[in-house]
């Protein structure tokens, strides 16, 4: 081909390309790459064809079974649909998420991770690309199953609403599971960790697939359920909570992928808050103008428990602000201090836990006040969330405070995290076992002073009084605060210094810019 001809062809392509180009430019580069690799890879090809063959065989089986019976009834259509739905679920809930897990892991195994980082893709883009590629693969399965599902519909007995709902819900769940899978793939690169993660992931996937399958089948046999508000609420709540959890895992994956000196915590903390806020908003909506003490307390305690669990990680981060975090602090002094609980660092994590738990407490007071104008709590019930918060503070603050000097090391953080759990178990179970051994009945049935949860039970029926339980709790709180004194001081000092440095850098920059502009002006 002559050069002129080649130019001509290229010129045409350029003329025609813009729309397609612009469309494909909008897509995540990772998505384009992932889908291409997945389509060509053995894993997808093999699983795709096996799934289709299985679906055909199972479908044939169901049909033969149905036809050989005395009469063809509407159950045949349902049976056929459920069989197909089960195959589809296995593919989209287990095989697809697992392939995203492998593909994320592949970036390290195949030594391509550095090149990705260098290309300046943000962790968020990388994770999103992987998740979306899982979505595309799932969509391919849905398309491939289309003929089967149409056939099932033609067999009668199938509610179109149920068919549609179950497909949409299962697709969303598949996306959420891909999110979970990518996140889990980021949590560890060691051989042992990977195997462990794989086992955990497989369990989670199979369990969810089973759940979705049973739910879909149930709906198919009782299509009326779909018009039930409670069912709709349940679907809504399930999807909201699922999305919140997936979003949390997404944020966790992004922070794992971020550079160690980068901010690996603020996004996660924001996500924790978001999960709690969406949970509380959902509760508020469901409760409406009701304001029952059990429900409010349940909501508050669940939220604080969630905050406690996620704060196990935040409160054991290394105290030092990362090199790349310090330069992103707000310029404004006040904002700088307000941002403190959201910034990475163990002590800041403890403050985050305390403040966000207080926020939950405020919700518990404000919701009934606004909705009904009165507080529905009897006795000392209103104190329960605060007691819970204090208890959590002790468990979080003890190991983190004691080990604060070693939190910059990997082992230090691990020890502190395990320490929180170990302390929890030790303080609740050991006295009980001891009570059993020395035949102290009340201890053996968990009624020992170290069981701070006893306070909650007591407050349910009694007023708050400064008995031994409360005093012990306050003493322990004071000790925890003392233990955390040094790292609090260090944190304040560092924060002051970082803010001052940030302002100094900005001033320098401004001066430099001014100096640069002056000669130009002359």
């Amino acid at each position: 081909m002559s050069e002129i001809e080649a130019d001509g062809v290229q010129g045409n392509e350029v003329e025609q390309a813009p729309l397609m180009e612009r469309l494909s430019d909008r897509l995540s580069p990772i998505l384009v790459k992932e889908v291409r690799q997945a389509m060509r890879g053995k894993y997808f090809k093999i699983t795709f064809w096996i799934t289709l063959i299985m679906a055909t065989l199972v479908g044939l089986g169901v049909c033969l079974e149905g036809v050989s019976g005395s009469h063809v009834d509407e159950n045949l259509g349902r049976g056929f649909f459920i069989a197909q739905f089960a195959c589809l679920i296995v593919a989209t809930h287990v095989l697809v998420p697992f392939s995203t897990f492998l593909s994320m892991g592949g970036e390290w195994d195949e030594n391509t991770w550095d090149l990705l980082v260098l290309s300046n893709l943000k962790p968020r883009q990388i994770v999103l690309g992987k998740v979306l590629s899982g979505g595309v693969q799932a969509l391919l399965y849905y398309c491939a199953f289309g003929p089967f599902l149409v056939f099932a519909f033609l067999l009668h007995g199938i509610d179109l609403g149920v068919l549609f709902t179950s497909l949409v819900v299962s697709f969303i769940v598949s996306l959420l599971l891909s999110c979970l899978a990518v996140a889990m793939s980021c949590f560890g690169q060691g051989k042992f960790t990977r195997v462990l993660l794989m086992v955990l992931l497989t369990a989670a996937l199979v369990w969810t697939a089973f759940g979705t399958g049973v739910w879909g089948a149930g709906m198919m046999f009782r299509p009326g359920m779909l018009h039930d508000t409670e069912m709709l609420e349940a679907i809504g709540a399930g999807l909201t909570i699922g999305t919140a959890i997936a979003a949390y895992f997404f944020a966790a994956a992004c922070s794992r992928l971020a550079h160690p000196e980068e901010n690996r915590s603020t996004g996660l903390r924001a996500m924790s808050l978001l999960v709690v806020l969406s949970g509380l908003a959902w509760m508020s909506w469901v409760l409406g103008s009701r304001g029952r003490n059990e429900e409010l307390l349940f909501g508050a305690c669940m939220s604080i428990t969630f905050l406690f669990v996620t704060s196990i990680f935040y409160s054991t981060e290394q105290g030092r602000l990362g090199l790349r975090v310090a330069v992103t602090l707000p310029k404004n002094r006040l904002l700088g201090w307000l941002a403190l609980p959201m910034l990475p660092g163990g002590m800041r994590g403890l403050i985050f836990y305390t403040l966000s738990s207080l926020m939950v407490f405020c919700w518990m007071i404000l919701h009934p006040l606004l909705a009904t104008g009165s507080l529905p709590f009897r006795n000392g019930q209103v104190w329960i969330p605060l007691m819970m918060m204090g208890t959590g503070f002790i468990y979080l603050g003890f190991p983190g405070g004691l080990l604060s000097r070693y939190l910059s090391e990997n082992w230090g953080r691990m020890t502190a995290r395990i320490g929180v759990v170990a302390l929890f178990i030790a303080s609740i179970f050991l006295p009980a076992v001891l009570g059993y051994l020395i035949d102290l009945r009340s201890w053996a049935v968990w009624e020992h002073p170290l069981n701070l949860f006893m306070n909650f039970e007591y407050l349910w029926d009694n007023d708050l009084e400064f008995g031994a339980g409360v005093i012990l709790m306050l003493v322990l709180l004071a000790i925890t605060v003392l233990i955390n004194g040094p790292r609090t001081l260090a944190m304040v000092k560092e924060h002051k210094k970082a803010l001052a440095h940030r302002r100094w850098v900005l001033q320098q920059q401004a001066a430099r810019d001014a100096a640069r502009q002056q000669p130009e002006a002359q």
């Binding site: 350029v14 813009p18 180009e21 430019d25 300046n120």
Partner: protein
């Protein structure tokens, strides 16, 4: 010439091992810096720090005036790094591979097409563009990675042992590519523990050993520096060889003398001035040499003398 890359007192430890010890040097635009040192000297570590992939324990690196610590994203926009070991995706052709990274670098629409054409032309990969990467030879892969590194038109290129594992022909090709890059005004840093190919391309060198930079400067400067430490002179005189031998041993800077061909080979420590004085004093003693030739030292010898030859 403006400074493109400056390494400012970078130190990096891996546990107890001091991998890079207070290293400082700089590269100007259009310059090719050879970063030489034996295996395990800390070349890769230094380069990874320059490329924002690792963090220094102390010190900083400025790329076009931007700190790798505080502005990693801006640094990555200006920098092309070719790691010594990198993976390629399976089931991907050269075209698709480059297209992916072009997208990742944020190139859109026509500018992407144009850039892809350009790098394929530059690295002569166009005829192979539909080949699977897994089917490429080492030299081709190296060129592909170079093409990928060029996609965002970085002002500074860091190539970690790009010549390792290449056949002589591919090495020459690589050398020409690197020279062409410098011709485009890019600053290039290229590391190696094999010197022959570096001595012909680089304008400056930095020699690193056990994490310490032991010499920096232009190739000539470093050679002089090495000679200042140690060099050999061949001396032939019409006078009695024994006499010359004894006289030489009395001179300052001479460490050993041995017969060599029809003259004497002198191991000598000190710079060129001292060498001139040696010649002068021989003449003054009446032992006029008819041949007095300091050995031509090339980069390889410099390297050996600077690093005590600890090549693994």
């Amino acid at each position: 010439m403006t400074t493109a890359l400056s390494v400012l007192g970078v130190t990096k430890r891996f546990g107890k091992l001091l991998a890079v010890d207070n290293a400082s040097f700089e590269i100007k635009r259009g310059e090719i810096l050879g970063f030489i040192g034996p295996n395990g000297a800390g070349k890769t570590t230094t380069m990874r720090i320059c490329a924002t992939l690792d963090m220094p324990d102390s010190g900083d690196v400025l790329i076009d005036g931007r700190s790798v610590l505080s502005n990693p994203r801006e640094v990555r926009e200006r920098l092309g790094f070719m790691p010594d070991a990198y993976g390629a995706y399976v089931h991907t052709t050269i075209s698709e591979y480059l297209d992916f990274y072009a997208r990742a670098y944020g190139l859109r629409g026509r500018s992407r097409t144009r850039m892809l054409d350009y790098v394929k032309e530059f690295t002569a990969l166009r005829p192979l563009q539909d080949k699977l990467i897994t089917a490429l030879s080492k030299g081709m892969k190296q060129r592909l990675c170079l093409a990928k590194t060029l996609l965002h038109d970085p002002a500074i290129m860091i190539l970690d042992e790009p010549a390792a594992g290449l056949d002589p022909h591919a090495r020459i090709e690589l050398r020409e590519l690197v020279l062409a890059l410098a011709g485009l005004g890019k600053a290039v840093m290229i590391s190696s523990h094999i010197l022959t190919e570096l001595s012909q391309v680089c304008s400056t060198v930095a020699v690193i050993e056990a994490g310490k930079i032991c010499a920096t400067g232009t190739v000539d400067e470093v050679i002089q520096m090495a000679q200042a430490k140690h060099s050999q002179v061949f001396v032939r005189s019409l006078a009695d060889r024994e006499k010359v031998h004894r006289a030489l041993l009395e001179e300052a800077g001479v460490t050993s003398v041995r017969p060599h061909k029809n003259g004497l080979m002198v191991d000598f420590e000190g710079g060129e001035e001292r060498l001139a004085r040696l010649l002068q004093s021989l003449v003054e003693r009446g032992l006029i040499p008819i041949e007095f030739s300091p050995n031509q030292v090339d980069l390889e010898d410099v390297f050996m003398s600077l690093t005590k030859g600890q090549i693994q």
